[in-house]
């Protein structure tokens, strides 16, 4: 059965992002991302599928923090894919998704080296979910064990559920049927998610209107990311 071709796309409006970190925790909750202890983080092993990069602009007193949420860019030509020797990560042309199959990963970590955004995270040890915390784990998402590379999947499990519901109801996906956890929770609405192939979708509209503000991260590398950023604006009075 021929699935409709979705080009899942996310827009991140840097002007709206307040850096509150709701997306980070929402992602942890949705995707069973293990938390790292203080010691592990000091060893550069922090693990957050979506992170808010904070840069400084200007010098005191005119200095201000700038936030740049970075997650897997779901590249069209992903550098991380072609280096995987076991097809653990491969491309879904029908959805422009960068799929990660945890079960296949043998942990060569080559994808992380070859990933210019450094948004892939490696399980250096087995995750420890203290006894009763396991109740919360999302059964839709595999809990990764030691030696496995993981990354943002655009909440592929939510996409699948939406697709299956649509199939069972015999209708096609509407804009807004699929919303990743981070987008769902973002208070200022800095994150927008949708199917770029659908001209009426929110993302398509936003990109049309905000064209001059939009850019893609490290686009010059030719990775064809599926995440568009909208530059932070400024107003004067």
């Amino acid at each position: 059965m021929a699935l409709p071709v979705h080009k899942w796309t996310m827009i991140i409006d840097l002007d709206r992002c307040t850096g509150c970190g709701a997306c980070v925790v929402a992602c942890h909750a949705e995707n069973n991302v293990p938390v790292q202890t203080e010691r592990e983080i000091t060893r550069l092993r922090a693990m957050h599928w979506i992170r808010i990069e904070r840069y400084w602009q200007g010098a005191y007193p005119d200095v201000q923090a700038r936030f740049l949420p970075v997650q897997c860019q779901q590249c069209g030509d992903a550098p991380c894919e072609s280096v995987c020797p076991v097809y653990a990560t491969n491309h879904s042309p029908t959805e422009n998704l960068n799929l990660q199959t945890y079960n296949r990963c043998v942990g060569t970590r080559y994808c992380q080296n070859n990933d210019p955004y450094k948004v892939r995270f490696f399980n250096f040890f087995d995750p420890d979910f203290e006894d009763s915390l396991t109740n919360q784990l999302n059964p839709d998402v595999t809990v990764r064990t030691a030696g496995i590379m993981e990354k943002c999947t655009f909440c592929v499990q939510r996409i699948r559920r939406a697709e299956e519901d649509a199939l069972s109801r015999g209708v096609s996906l509407k804009d807004g049927d699929v919303i990743p956890a981070c987008v769902q929770t973002c208070p200022p609405g800095a994150l927008v998610f949708g199917n770029l192939n659908d001209p009426n979708s929110q993302v398509a509209a936003a990109l049309r209107e905000q064209e001059q503000r939009s850019f893609r991260l490290l686009e010059s590398l030719g990775t064809d990311p599926a995440i568009y950023y909208l530059k932070g604006g400024s107003s004067h009075a």
Binding site: A78, E81, Y87, N90, H91, T142, V143
Partner: protein, 341 residues
Amino acid sequence: MADIHLLGLFNNLEAAADAIDRLHKQGTGDEKILVLSGSPYKPEMLGRPHYHGKVGLASLGGALLGMLLAAFLTVGIFLLYPLIQGGQPLIPIPPSLIVFFEVIMLGMMWAAFTSMLVLSGMPVFKAQPYDPRITEGYIGVQVTLDEKLSGQVEQAFNDAGTMGVKRQALAPAIDLNFRRFWGGGLAVLTIGAVITLLFFYDVLKINFPTNMNEQFSYGYEQGPRLAAPAESVPVQGPDLIAGEPASLPVPSSPNSLQRGKTLFGINCVMCHGAGGTGNGAVGAFFNPKPFNLTSSAVQNLQDNELFLVITQGFGVMPPAAENLSPEERWDVINYVRTLKK
């Protein structure tokens, strides 16, 4: 009379050449003569015909085999499993070329080695006419001919100034060990390959747990069951509102019954049994046993009560609220009604 081997040892080349000349004079054909040496000499130096080996040809064949293997590894795999990676074409030429090169070389050299052994009749484990001094620079000239003629051959050796002559009875023409070695080796390989394949395809199976088969998370339909909180109302809406009729019951239509039958098969049969008589396979594990749905005790219940039981579960019976939408629950109820005897 039987043929025998005569081995004459010489400590320098001229003498050996001389001996061979004399043998030729006696009319001994080159095919009967064999020269043994500790380091390679050109046969011409001893007036022997040049020997043309077939190793080169064999290694060419090996290269061709390698090419086929490479073709399968690259093109074959890419076609069998058309997974896109990194915006590359399905059959990326440059990587394939690398594999082709390496595997061709592999085939060529392995073939060269094997053919070297096979063509020169190695390995040999039977006793052969030989003398340790050959690895001390001596040259051995071995003649294989009828015992009667041994005398004149020894004469020739002595005239050429041999350091000694060895005679040895002719061993059986065919070396069984040789066959056993190659045949046995081949057999072992084949059997091994077959058995491993059986393992690879789980025909033979060692059932050890692999990573991530056991999950920390509590999956659907599993775990110790936790009942839905009493009196709480889900977002999907209350199943029953006190004093109100059940929310939109589905009338018992053939479609509804059909759906109900299917859902019953998926959700209920394992405990309540196909006939609903409470003799399901899993139900056997439980005490008290699952209800007999055909019994009047059940059939006399109101629709609403059945609905609540399905929704919230009853005793060990898990709530189906998560797996069945309200409409589906009504389908099941309609079907259960038909089980009445």
